[in-house]
Symmetry: C2
Subunit: 163 residues, 2 copies
């Protein structure tokens, strides 16, 4: 196996591990538990679920490999903090959105060559990339894996059976 | 820059970013805040601080590049859950421990060659490594960066000024 391929496998493994862990936890929650905050006065599970899905929807554009499916979700889940007065999509809608975004990413990743993973992402200029080639698409994926882990650490605090 | 070097930089960047973020948050806490739980009935900040330091102390052995400084901390911070009746080291002692572990790791990492990062870690056999060379030392570092992010997501829930 060539080394470039090993790196890509390692980064995808990190992403896939965190994603699978998130999916396992979210799928253990009752619908009512989605409306619980992770700690008193903090974000609710529904917000973090939509936040991760919308952030990963936008990841296609950050990587420059696709377009967002639901750009209008950015206002609720990315540009604003959780707000229990905001009109949120239903859990059923959000689950569909999550599935769609991640199955699309899965397919896009499968079609991204090793060379393409080491190209610059859309959030930086050619000039900056020339100076620091470690800031490539794969580094965005590593960052997003950490971001999932960060929020898993929070949703795990909620008792899934609570209502 | 060769690709192996780029990937080592990426993984170290991921680790350093999460570590710096953790240090910034822990250093913002008053001594009293270290004794607060991250959510009602959950781990206290002091436990998570000691847990990360002890896990990173053990990381030297997992990577096969050094020995643990305080193996006796494993019982309190790794093998058992948080227990408010347990006798814990003071915050001053834990801060010294944290500094020591991370400055040592920093030096060890600086002296680890790119080739060495791609060797197998001590938690797997030669045979397994032959089958999957992506399970190398660098993959352990990526995993530990995710682990820091997971606990940052929790300690960030505590108001640092609370006492």
């Amino acid at each position: 196996m060539n080394q470039q391929k090993i790196f890509v496998q390692m980064a995808l493994h990190s992403w896939n591990t965190q994603l699978a862990r998130a999916e396992k936890i979210f799928s253990s929650f009752s619908e009512a538990a989605f409306y619980l905050p992770v700690a008193p006065g903090k974000n609710r599970v529904i917000y973090l679920y939509g936040h991760l899905a919308a952030y990963h929807d936008a990841l296609k554009e950050t990587l420059g490999i696709g377009k967002r499916t639901e750009p209008e979700f950015a206002a609720i889940f990315l540009q604003n903090p959780d707000d229990s007065d905001a009109v949120m999509p239903s859990i059923t809608e959000l689950k569909k959105y999550w599935e769609l975004v991640h199955s699309e990413l899965n397919e896009l990743f499968a079609n991204t060559s090793e060379d393409d993973w080491f190209k610059r992402h859309n959030a930086m200029t050619d000039e900056d990339f020339e100076k620091d080639p470690s800031r490539n698409r794969l580094s965005v994926l590593l960052n997003r894996a950490n971001h999932i882990a960060y929020h898993i650490g929070q949703v795990i605090l909620v008792n899934p059976g609570n209502s």
